[in-house]
């Protein structure tokens, strides 16, 4: 095994940004408190001093304005990385994301593509209550004309930014806020990742768990426990929420004949529904049981820990859902 460094997800995201800023003059970072504050999640700490205020650009509280300015700067030849502090505030910028960034290439007859990267923190789990705990990355995956990424691992936090910046079209990167402190190994000779494929994070023959982002780790935890009960889960990390990598999903489901989707979004209309529909469309006759979903309760996220925990997917719920497919119930 090759040498590796132990770093946090935060540090990985930081290295990726640092590399981009160093290697390409056209790259700049713009958003609320990315500069002097050091970034809400400290991802860009120190960048302001290193790269200066032009390239580490603090913005006023104007999400619609500065996301739109990112679209314009991309059209003007730059490679902006716009940070919307969290997905919760991105709703204010949605018009520019959908009606400008996403549509521009097509609407202009292919003349104006928008090489814009938008990063945002997403997800619940920190007791921030209803307005600060949305998981809307799956919702964004509905929008034609953009790519949607959900780095769940150190490698992806480190590697996804580069291909995102190389992509000629808008790319949204959702970083689950609970992952920033996660530690992991990054190979010293790390050579990058693609933004086209889902990844099999654990192999198994009995059931496929399909997930992404912060939920990957809960799915893996559930898989560990299920293994003790003799159920071997294959765990797929979608990584790219749009466009979905159907092949990797179907490959697995055709072998395991069972699928459970774990999604932090509110159940109705979450990405889990789309993945279910695709499995039904493409692998219906391979299924030995209905596709199951473990999602968040459809409730504004409550503040107390026990209620937040109860509202979110948890390993126990995943285990119950998996066992349900085998006709076993856990009592």
């Amino acid at each position: 095994m090759s040498a590796s460094q132990k770093i946090t997800y935060r540090e990985a995201a930081r290295q990726a940004l640092h590399e981009a800023l160093t290697q390409d003059e056209r790259v700049f970072l713009m958003g609320e408190d990315v500069g002097r504050y050091g970034g809400t999640y400290a991802v860009s700490k120190g960048f302001y001093d290193e790269f200066g205020p032009d390239r580490i650009r603090d913005t006023p509280l104007s999400e619609l304005g500065f996301v739109g300015a990112g679209v314009g700067a991309a059209l003007g030849g730059m490679r902006p990385v716009v940070e919307v502090m969290t997905v919760n505030f991105s709703l204010l910028a949605l018009d520019q994301i959908v009606n400008a960034a996403a549509l521009m290439r097509h609407m202009s007859g292919g003349q104006f593509n928008v090489p814009l990267v938008i990063r945002m923190a997403t997800g619940a789990g920190r007791q921030l209550a209803a307005q600060h705990s949305h998981s809307l990355e799956g919702w964004y995956a509905h929008i034609a004309g953009i790519k949607v990424l959900a780095p769940a691992t150190i490698e992806d936090a480190r590697g996804m930014l580069r291909p995102a910046l190389e992509d000629p079209d808008p790319v949204l990167i959702f970083e689950h806020a609970l992952l920033y402190n996660m530690q992991g190994e990054l190979p010293v000779d790390f050579s990058g990742v693609d933004i086209r494929h889902a990844a099999v994070r654990r192999t198994g023959k009995d059931v496929t768990l399909i997930t992404y982002g912060g939920m990957l780790w809960k799915a893996l935890e559930a898989a560990e426990q299920l293994a003790k009960d003799g159920i071997e889960c294959e765990v797929i990390d979608l990584r790219v929420l749009r466009p979905l990598d159907d092949a990797t999903i179907m490959d697995s489901v055709r072998r395991t004949h069972r699928a459970v989707i774990v999604d932090e979004g509110w159940r109705t209309g979450s990405l889990s529904a789309e993945v279910t529909a695709r499995i039904v469309e493409q692998a219906f006759y391979d299924l030995d049981a209905p596709v199951a979903r473990v999602c968040s309760e459809e409730v504004p996220m409550p503040y107390p820990k026990h209620l937040e925990d109860a509202a979110l997917p948890q390993p126990e719920k995943i285990i119950r859902a998996v066992k349900g497919l085998f006709g076993k119930t856990d009592s």
């Binding site: 504050y37 006023p60 209550a129 209803a130 309760e297 409550p302 503040y303 109860a310």
Partner: protein, 337 residues
């Protein structure tokens, strides 16, 4: 209307009944003690999530909210413990909310950022910067349409003024001549972003006046100035039935939230502002004018302290909401039909 002025020589505290002055002081102390305790409770992980302290800015809530009448409505931000307290929301219920308990003023569901109280006409507790502004306009519109003589006071930070929501809301209020008091708490920073890096025009009353709205600016470190300016502004709103923009120049002594390393401002700057601390300056003035003794001050402080401790005990003893209760209350229960 421009900055409220003090008559030279005579301290403004002498212009008002002593009881009012003592009440203002008391309210500032109540906020301070409440929040200091919250900070400790945060360290003890009794309070979690975001906690935005108002310490340093107490004169604003104390002076402004005391000027409102009970029928008026309040729309506030995530930095609203003080506003809720002064408005008369029960300290027990606020603290229980911070703990996330069912006896909290929002059943414990929102915590620090989402204090609500229907009886107090306290409409939150909004954690989207600028998000309360259009709501305040709508509350005032409802009053106008129903011919009720009430004012809606909307508190927001200077950072919110860069949001489109501010622009749209104040234009609607002015266009439709609605009784909204826009209360801008200008503490010079939005998280780590100084006003001059947020607004091309840093004279906030100039910005607001461009909507053809009356404006004024008050020293937000001086509770009497705040009170007087707010009384005057409210009078204008009631008599003109039009909005008014009131800036309170203030400063937050603590970090933005419990996660903020405060890289963006000098310690010296903070120390300089602390010299203008609203509580000790005001109590010194009252003492100088013979309106307050050290003993009386200690009494006030002790009472505030006791109020908080009672609230903590209440919150500790209170029960949690169950998931079943909590998750069932998203929409009204279905009725027949």
């Amino acid at each position: 209307m421009s900055s409220s002025k003090r008559a030279p020589g005579i301290d403004a505290v002498l212009r008002h009944p002593r009881e009012l002055m003592i009440a203002l002081l008391k309210n500032m102390v109540r906020i301070r003690r409440f929040e200091e305790r919250c900070a400790v409770l945060y360290g003890e992980t009794k309070i979690r999530g975001f906690l935005h302290l108002y310490i340093g800015e107490e004169a604003v809530a104390a002076g402004a909210i005391g000027a409102l009448s009970p029928e008026d409505a309040i729309v506030a931000t995530y930095r609203e413990h003080g506003h809720a307290l002064i408005r008369g929301v029960s300290p027990d219920a606020i603290m229980a909310e911070m703990f996330g308990k069912r006896a909290g003023c929002s059943r414990g569901r929102g915590g620090s950022m989402h204090l609500f109280d229907a009886a107090a006409r306290f409409y939150g507790g909004n954690a989207i910067v600028g998000g309360g502004l259009p709501i305040a306009v709508g509350l005032a519109l409802a009053d106008k349409l129903q011919k009720r003589d009430r004012v809606t006071a909307c508190f927001f930070g200077e950072g919110a003024m860069a949001e489109g929501a501010f622009h749209e809301a104040i234009n609607l209020a002015a266009l439709w001549q609605l009784p909204v008091l826009f209360c801008c708490e200008n503490n010079l920073y939005a998280m780590g972003t100084a006003l001059a890096r947020s607004e091309s025009q840093t004279e906030l009353t100039v910005k607001a006046a461009s909507y053809d709205v009356e404006t004024a600016s008050a020293d937000g470190m001086d509770v009497v100035a705040v009170h007087e300016a707010t009384v005057a502004a409210l009078e204008r709103v009631r008599s003109t039935q039009a909005p008014f923009f009131l800036e309170y120049k203030t400063y937050r002594f603590r970090a933005h939230s419990m996660f903020d390393p405060e890289l963006y401002r000098d310690k010296a700057e903070v120390e300089e502002w602390k010299k203008r601390g609203p509580i000790h300056n005001f109590s010194a003035r009252l003492k100088a004018q013979g309106l307050l003794t050290e003993e009386a001050f200690l009494d006030i402080d002790r009472e505030a302290h006791e109020e908080v401790e009672r609230a903590v005990a209440f919150a500790e003893a209170a029960e949690w909401e169950t998931p079943e209760e909590c998750f069932a209350d998203v929409c009204a229960p279905e009725t027949t039909g």
